[in-house]
Amino acid sequence: MLHAALRAFGALLLLGATSTAYAQSDSVKIGYAISRSGPFAAGAQVTQEPNYILWAEQVNAAGGLSVKGQKRKIELMGFDDRSEVETAVRTFEKLMTADKVDLILPPWGSGMNFAVAPIANKHGYPMLAPTALSRKLIDMKLPYFFALLQQPDKMMGALIDMLAAKGAKTVAVVYMDDLFGLENIAAFDQAAKAKGLKVVERKSYPLGVKDLSPVLRAIKEKNPDAFVGITYPPDTFLVSGQSKEIAFNPKFFYASVGTAFPLYLQRMGAGAQGVLGMGSWSKTLSPEAKAYFDAHVAKFQKEPDRWASGHAWAGLQILQQSVEAVGLDRKAMRDHIAKSEFKTILGPIRFQGSENASIPGTVSQWVGGEFEVVWPPGRATATVLTPKPAWK
């Protein structure tokens, strides 16, 4: 009796582990695995997954995705990868080989994209990644992989250009002990040397640090013109908060990731004025950007972030335009993406190999309660506020 029950349970288990429930069969199936739990969830749930959901909803409300003229509804199949690479790899394999979805959307973060890009490439699924930041990944030259973010050399280059142009002579930098931190610091070092900026302090710190005040105090003693933090959201808040506590007020204060989050303004309040960070768009960039911004707020009661949320949306736009042009033939889509220029909320985008060749490195700044693009002047939505007012 027990054995029979166990056998039945086992069969059910096997079935459950290898199948997924789905609805209609003439819909366009778009699958993905993304971090809904674990350490990557904070980033993924601000920047990426909400955009997937909003996009599918908007497209379906307009009748569906236009596949070479014929409209078909989108069916999203999203799963949690638990911030575990193995789980993401397995889920994407399932989506591509067993479920044979029409399209895939990428996971969050460089690590995940490293693992999933070769698989997508192997099975011939184009992948437009908005949160992959690594020169190494681009150098893998995978034909089906396209990275939307500006890579470290561009972003750090733009930052140094701006600092030099605005008269900064000395800079102190702290950076995270991980791929993002290391690639950016390498780019930073190169750019600073080229422009003749003197680096007076250069310290790294591990993930999960809870107190950087000793480091910041030491930096304050050296009185640099600019402070650059190559930091992730928790550390961005930490350096901002602790700089305020010790009254460290350099003329330029930059923290890379997290400054673009609406939470930053909430937390720092009036003190956010003048803080610089990685950002590429704001709602004042174009009417299209504003429409996207408002729709996001209406659906999720939270704003998109001014850095990679824009790239995520742009990636979806590119996907949509490609399907419209060449249908769901994934090889044809790849070729189309590789050689065409697309209109997106970030402006026109064209790819060179796996890299976004159109958007230059940018720097954004909190000005008047909005995180505006302030560099390069050609793309700016506001002028650089310098020097940064003292923390309030």
């Binding site: 971090s35 809904r36 739990s37 674990g38 350490p39 969830a41 904070a42 993924a44 749930q45 601000v46 002990d177 310290k203 790294s204 710190y205 591990p206 999960g208 640090v209 809870k210 107190d211 950087l212 005040s213 000793p214 480091v215 105090r217 030491a218 959201p233 928790p234 808040f237 930490l238 908060g241 602790q242 305020k244 506590e245 010790i246 009254a247 989050f261 939470l263 909430q266 937390r267 720092m268 309040g269 939270k302």
Partner: protein, 289 residues
């Protein structure tokens, strides 16, 4: 000279935060041999409670500390009655009980963290409270960190007094020293265990509420605090409240001085190195009697 002073102050303050986080876990392990790896999750709940209370009412989160304490103590009592009581009844051997309660605590960790994720989403949240610097003997220290430090001291002192001076406290200490003997002399172990477990959870909640003033919160924040708590109580001696305060402060100071003298990247290596060294040399902890 001022630099050493500053470092020392910073070290003590972050150490106070560590001690605060650990004090609840100590009660549960020292008394009941329940290694509650879900400790950080209850800390997270306290943090969220304070966050929502502050956001919705606009009042100081410090006013809600008693509320957070009571709510989480009640939750802790419920958890003990539902999960651990039955386990204690069916597993008299200590080692087996420790192992199984560890597993149950893992289950709790999954449940609490993911319910929070479902309810509030994975994003970071935060608010600014008392983040002005305060002048302390010529040093500037963040007011909210200072408050956390003072609360850590206060709570630890309060607990020590409770354990020493009150009848309930004496009963608890008796149970820690000789579980069977305590029952024999008529101490109501069955009633005190859930209460003490609940107290541990309540304290975790208070720690979380205080921390929400200083750091951003998210459903995933608990784990790193559980690890910190584990290190601190092991350093200080399992079951010793004064020990975990001292252990926390020591950890904070060692980290701060160590990373200044070497490299912030070595911070974690230092913490774990010290931890392992202490365990190897004095496994009962630095301050256990």
């Amino acid at each position: 000279m001022t630099l050493w002073f500053e470092l020392g102050a910073a070290g003590l303050i972050i150490g106070g935060v560590y001690a605060l986080v650990a004090v609840g876990l100590n009660l549960q392990y020292g008394l009941m041999r329940i290694l509650n790896v879900a400790h950080g999750e209850f800390l997270m709940l306290g943090a969220y409670l304070a966050y929502w209370a502050h956001l919705l009412s606009g009042l100081s989160p410090l006013l809600f500390l008693p509320l957070v304490f009571v709510a989480l103590t009640a939750l802790g009592i419920a958890v003990h009655l539902l999960c651990f009581r039955r386990l204690a009844a069916s597993t008299p051997e200590v080692e087996a009980f420790e192992a199984r309660s560890l597993l149950v605590a893992f289950g709790l960790m999954f449940i609490v963290q993911n319910l929070a994720l479902l309810a509030w989403g994975g994003d970071l949240r935060g608010y600014a409270y008392l983040d002005r610097p305060v002048d302390l003997l010529g040093l500037s220290v963040a007011a909210n960190r200072l408050v956390a430090f003072l609360c850590a001291l206060g709570i630890s002192r309060g607990l020590v007094v409770l354990l020493r001076a009150t009848l309930v406290g004496k009963a608890v200490r008796a149970m820690m020293q000789a579980p069977i003997g305590a029952e024999l002399v008529g101490i109501e172990v069955r009633r005190l265990h859930p209460l003490m477990f609940g107290l541990g959870i309540g304290l975790a909640g208070v720690a979380g509420a205080l921390l929400s003033m200083v750091y951003e919160i998210s459903p995933a924040m608990g784990e790193s605090y559980t690890v910190t708590a584990l290190i601190v109580i092991t350093l200080g001696g399992l079951g010793s409240v004064g020990g975990s305060l001292a252990g926390g402060l020591l950890l904070g100071v060692v980290e701060t001085f160590g990373t200044h003298l070497t490299n912030p990247s070595l911070r974690m290596l230092l913490s774990y190195g010290v931890f392992i060294a202490v365990l190897l040399v004095r496994p009962k902890g630095l301050f256990a009697r």
